[in-house]
Symmetry: C2
Subunit: 166 residues, 2 copies
């Protein structure tokens, strides 16, 4: 029997243990380009370590998931952070998990939607457990900023029983 | 009297001397996440050098420009590349310039629009002359990936006479 995983609203404060919410609302900003552009500055802690580490920019095209959805596993990247920024305004789901005694804890799920400041993305900090991309309603593209280089940058963990998002 | 600067369509080939076009069409891609996501992989050469260099993710909110528009200057960043990826589907303009004898050549202008592969962005390679953000039709947000750290990362050049985009 699945345990129910509630969908929480995404806020900077709630997400802080896992990474950054990339959004303009409440962000440090200042005018550039002779006042024709506002820069919302330095919104994510990008980290890439290890041999040959470099920053990659890619696009992920996620198939649409439907609810209810069973969360059976999480993964993490020991050598780098990973940013997902939606290129569309539909909702999507971010699932993360803390760690205790070397294993992921029960996951936490956030529903991500644009707010009055526009589209919002997340940056998983290095080594933070998270579920792969969950897009809702329709296939959607996301800009990805993560790490390339040598070494194994993927760990996976499968829960004994799934958690259900209704 | 202004010299006329034609608006060229943006293609990978035409933009190659200046940087990367970040787009899914024609990009190397492969399935991940058990086949639920397609990854269009490593679309830009991100480079950050110098003391304390790190990769920043920011959002630039550009005011709308109207045509005709006079291009009077270009700038460049000697310590890092700079990615602009639109978070909207309206057209925008990218102006870049090669270099000869230590000075920017006459600029080249590209009109950027989404194509069948979706939204398209650009990555200016390190030290490539370019004009600040030119958004059209309405104020627009762009995800920026560039460099933070010590040192002077900005050079500007003012042309003796402007170039006009009609």
């Amino acid at each position: 029997m699945s345990r129910i995983l509630p969908l929480c609203p995404l806020t900077r404060e709630a997400f802080a243990p896992f990474g950054d919410v990339i959004e303009t609302n409440g962000a440090h900003h200042y005018p550039i380009n002779n006042g024709t552009t506002m820069r919302f500055h330095d919104l994510a802690r990008v980290e890439t370590i290890g041999e040959g580490a470099r920053t990659l920019i890619s696009i992920a095209r996620g198939d649409a998931f439907t609810l209810p959805l069973d969360i059976r596993m999480v993964e993490r990247h020991p050598l780098g952070s990973q940013t997902f920024f939606p290129l569309h305004s539909r909702p999507w789901i971010v699932v993360v998990a803390g760690e205790e005694a070397g294993k992921p804890q029960a996951p936490v799920a956030f529903l991500v939607k644009p707010d009055t400041g526009g589209l919002r993305g997340v940056n998983y900090h290095r080594n933070v457990w998270h579920h792969p991309l969950i897009t809702l309603e329709a296939q959607g593209d996301f800009l990805i900023v993560d790490r390339g280089g040598e070494g194994n940058n993927l760990e996976e963990y499968f829960y004994e029983e799934p958690f259900r998002i209704e």
